[in-house]
Symmetry: C2
Subunit: 191 residues, 2 copies
């Protein structure tokens, strides 16, 4: 059972995020100051930066990627990496409530529209490739530094990237696009 302290922390954290997203939505990311967010969440600036190392991190902290990763690792071994990845993404997305999906959608739109956020998001994505490469290597029984494995993971991430960079196919359309991209990859990227 979490003590009062931990509950307060979680509440404060959530409140800061909530107020921040609301202000970003209303008056834009750039023209919202940390001072405003802190005031709206009724904490001091010091406290804001204790919960989030930077203004960007209020938007960026992603808890979905680890879920997808875990689902990928836990997928049945007889699946090919592409099948396992598709299943993992699908399971995580469909496991979200409608409200969560809407939040994620807003988060994604904001991230894509603000250059700094977009950049840092991409960086997080590519930095995660290393871990993913290990998982893929283990799945197919190869070494992680094998060129074939690394190129494959790069291509897989690249396909995901190409889908994500597409502007608004709607919150649902992404999955279809993603599936189509993976199908192409599975077929050896014919042109």
């Amino acid at each position: 059972m979490p003590g009062l302290r931990e509950r307060n922390k979680a509440r404060t954290r959530a409140e800061i995020r909530r107020q921040a997203m609301r202000l970003f939505r209303d008056q834009g990311y750039a023209s919202t100051t940390v001072e405003q967010i802190a005031a709206a969440a009724e904490v001091s600036q010091s406290t804001f930066f204790r919960y989030f190392p930077s203004k960007e991190d209020v938007v960026l902290r992603d808890e979905l990627d680890p879920l997808v990763f875990d689902a990928f690792v836990a997928a049945p071994p007889e699946l090919t990496p592409i099948q396992a990845f598709r299943a993992a993404v699908r399971a995580v997305v469909q496991g979200l409530s409608a409200e969560q999906q809407a939040e994620e959608w807003e988060r994604h739109r904001l991230t894509q529209s603000v250059p700094e956020l977009r950049a840092r998001n991409l960086d997080a994505l590519t930095q995660g490739m290393g871990l993913f490469t290990q998982a893929v290597a283990q799945r197919v029984g190869r070494r992680p530094d094998d060129v074939a494995v690394r190129a494959f993971v790069g291509a897989l991430v690249g396909v995901g990237l190409a889908v994500l960079l597409d502007e608004d196919p709607g919150p649902t359309g992404y999955l279809e696009l993603f599936d189509a991209g993976l199908a192409q990859l599975e077929a050896g990227l014919p042109l």
Copy 2:
């Protein structure tokens, strides 16, 4: 013939870059202030920001990508996109003087080691994918919004990414790694 004004501007710009890179090398990116760079280049801070919109841009402005793109477009039409891309990269890299290669290498190392720079570099890369997609589409006679084309470009960029993210295979080793990755892609990413 460029007037005195333009020559002065080019000289100032180059000097700012030179001094900045020197300071970054000596005392690190974060602990070098714009004030120091401006002082070393003998200009005011105002002037610094007139030449470079941000401290990051002193490092990031890349003139190689457009060259690769042009070379790709200009490549013989009978080449496959992968062959054309490989030829373009190779031509541009080998067209650099030893000094230029060393500079690029230093620039790349600095970019990869500083998170903000790495992130913005990735963003520039992915933002350029749109243009590249059009070129590929034209080359293979398909529409740019074709999923096959987009997935292909994504995979191609992804493979390049996987190579670039690898830490120091030496300034020459990159090309070999890159070729190996492209060969894998050409073979349909077998695992």
